[in-house]
Amino acid sequence: MLPTGNCTFRATGIVKPSERERVSLVDALMSATKGRTSSFTRNVLSASSSQTPGIKCGPNGTFFVSSGISDLDKILGGGIPLGSLVMVMEDAEAPHHMLLLRNFMSQGLVQDQPLLYASPSKDPRGFLGTLPCPSSKDDKLRNHDPQQEKGLRIAWQYKKYFGENQQSFDGHRGSKQEFCNDFDLRKPLERHFFSGQRVDCVSVKDSPNLVALQDRCTTFLAQFPRNDGSISSVGRIAIQSLCAPQCTHSNMEWDVLSFISYLKSMLWSANAVAVVTFPPSLLSESFCKRWQHMADILLSVRAIPDDDKELAKLLTGYQDMVGFLNVHKVARTNTQVPLILEATTFSIKLQKRRFLVLECLNQAPIDGSSGASYGTSGSCSGSSKTGTLEF
């Protein structure tokens, strides 16, 4: 980043990075090549739970389950905590919530976690054929090396530190691969993953109310009781487009609300997570607000216009973007410290049309012609909201 104005300053010496900073700078360099995440990531050196590869220990005695998208796991602080309810607000104009759902469901199936899937279509099983397959590692690793060397001139021999960190990095990466896979959206998941008893599908279209779905959820969650012992298995519930217009229950707003609170209470006493997507534009405003308060983790997806020259000027990488993801609420259990995100808006990109990545937005200032330099701008963000810094 260059200062945009004229300034003279006095150099008082050479900045010498200390030992610890060097290590974190190496991490920053390694992570910077993958895309613009925060430059100083906290190394949560948490060993995965010994019993099952799909569960990770988190801070404050919580356990995390992967959402299927590694970027989203990082944003949420490690993954989805067990027992939480994730709600995704759909955009009527874009099917991005399906991308999130697909990755979530595939991740569970690949890690042998039973799945309950409910959808408003007549044949929910058909959707399972569109789930993505974990990609082979060769595709991803091949990309990293050429990108690292491009256009970066560093007058510091950082390479000699690679030998020390390479081991821990590979080990780290290895365990991370098991927790969260990279999914290739163009390859369908092998059939043996979702055949059999592991996947339970429910269609909510023709049922007069949500009682049937509620019963199915109850029986499903009874398989994963939470007690103080070890976690044997974890369940996942995916409900797509709750309150879609073609379902009869879409008129019964209070009933749907009571179903959600019931689900939430059941989840709290079970080792399971649930992802529910719903179309907020089709609900009345008050109910939309109530639903949002019910969620532990609240995300929303938004469509972006196609071939928009203004957006292309404002954003770098606009060509690859397919939409935006907003993170409204992140669950923090067993602690009073909230998670303050650096950014709440992320762009959804499909790398090579196969891999889903979430990136922070790199955008030009709205009134860039005024040429504000660092000295003049006092606060970082124009709209200052308490607790969240938005870049």
């Binding site: 874009a94 879409s250 089709l282 216009p305 196609d306 939409g323 870049f391």
Partner: protein, 423 residues
């Protein structure tokens, strides 16, 4: 003619059939072509290309929305129908036939708009000795709730000669949507014959369906149609000001394209009819804007806008005269950082020599003292290495003025513990 137009403009929804009659009077010659429009053509082309195999809800759906301020949705609907029919007749489209369900307006062959009429008469001719019609009409207009039938049964009225043509099929109960769904499918499959050929469905007015059945039932019917493999595309007309916003947004939720018919001057409508406003209002009832939102498969939304004129020969589309670009700033959070480099800045950055970098050209070490380029100021560089104070003669933009602490200090002495600097 002008008065008639104004008259129908006052009561657009009640006198649609009258307006249709007005259109009919002027549209007798089937050879008159509408002027081609880019955007409306692209709608029709997209519908023509139809669905992809193996998609979640394959059929493409188009919602045409209008309001009382610009009540030309029906014209657009008729345009789309005529375009698609001509595509079907030419054999260019994925769907081989059209299943037309009308409730609100009469589409019977005698009274249908001009090129529908001609395509209907073409369609009724059997093709290639096998009876294979290209259009099938589901008539929900004549007797939607079965009252006439009941009257005939009870003997109170004369029997109306049901035109039992093979093209038209009468529906006597619009409220039973399951029956309607199976009727549509049956007729469509009958059109398609034995094979797996696709057909498209045109629904005249969703408002009428919503009048007789609840939103969830109608939405269920539409989504069932959408998920059916043999249906290539569906399009319908909706008057959005007749229902709550929720209803309109539910219908939009289920469609892959939304075409909004809007007035050119939105402020003019709804005001009192003063002499100044009448000209604007008149303009509103001859022209309008068509805003289309395409939901593309990759999740982006393409917005297109065109103007249209209703003239004697039909509806004409023209590209939009004035561009008002809307910046989608609501989507993005506001920042004040400049995170991008302009071209000039990029080239300047490439020119910057880092202080302790290898120059790579075998010359003696030179400290970059903030001067602009090393090659030009060789004299100053050699002086700097002996540790003298230098002042920049060339006054330029940002300069680094470095005052050395002592003259003896050399930049690359062995006592310097920075052995990890790549010099």
């Amino acid at each position: 003619m002008q008065n008639l137009k104004d008259f129908t403009a006052n009561f657009p929804n009640d006198l649609q059939s009258l307006k249709l009659g007005f259109l009919l009077q002027t549209q007798r010659s089937p050879s008159s072509q509408n002027s081609p429009s880019i955007m409306a053509e692209s709608i029709c082309r997209t519908l023509r290309d139809g669905s992809l195999e193996g998609e979640h809800a394959p059929a493409l759906t188009l919602t045409i929305k209008d309001t009382a301020a610009s009540p030309f949705g029906f014209d657009v609907f008729a345009y789309v129908l005529s375009q698609l029919s001509s595509f079907i007749l030419e054999g260019k489209s994925q769907s081989r036939s059209v299943q037309l369900q009308f409730i609100r307006h009469s589409f019977l062959p005698e009274t249908a708009p001009f090129n529908i009429g001609s395509s209907l008469s073409d369609a009724e001719r059997p093709m290639n000795s096998t009876v294979c019609y290209r259009i099938q009409i589901l008539d929900c207009y004549t007797d939607p709730l079965g009252w006439k039938g009941k009257l005939v049964e009870s003997g109170n009225a004369m029997c109306i000669s049901d035109e039992a043509s093979s093209v038209t099929h009468l529906c006597k109960d619009v409220r039973d949507l399951d029956n309607l769904y199976s009727l549509i499918l049956e007729l469509g499959k009958g059109l398609a014959g034995q094979g797996k050929a696709h057909f498209s469905v045109a629904i005249d007015s969703v408002n009428e369906m919503l009048r007789h059945a609840s939103l969830s039932r109608v939405a269920g019917l539409l989504s069932n149609l959408r998920s059916h493999d043999q249906i290539s595309c569906i399009y319908w007309l909706l008057h959005s000001d007749l229902h709550e916003v929720r209803v309109t947004s539910s219908v939009e939720y289920m469609s892959s394209m939304v075409a909004n018919v809007e007035p050119l001057n939105p402020s003019a409508s709804g005001q009192r009819w003063d002499s100044e406003n009448v000209s604007l209002l008149k303009q509103n009832f001859q022209k309008g804007k068509l805003n289309v939102r395409f939901k593309r498969r990759n999740g982006r939304v393409r917005l297109m806008c065109e103007e249209f004129h209703i003239e004697q020969s039909g509806i004409n589309f023209t590209p939009v005269s004035s561009e008002d670009g809307t910046i989608n700033q609501g989507l993005l959070p506001k920042v004040q950082f400049s995170l991008q480099l302009s071209e000039k800045e990029q080239t300047e950055r490439a020119k910057v020599v880092l202080p302790f970098e290898h120059q790579g050209n075998g010359k003696p070490m030179q400290i970059y003292d903030g001067r602009r380029s090393l090659e030009d100021n060789k004299n100053e560089a050699t002086l700097a290495s002996t540790g003298n104070l230098q002042r920049n003669e060339a006054s330029g933009e940002g300069e680094i003025i470095y005052f050395r602490d002592s003259d003896d200090e050399r930049p690359d002495s062995d006592e310097d513990p920075d052995d990890d600097l790549d010099i």
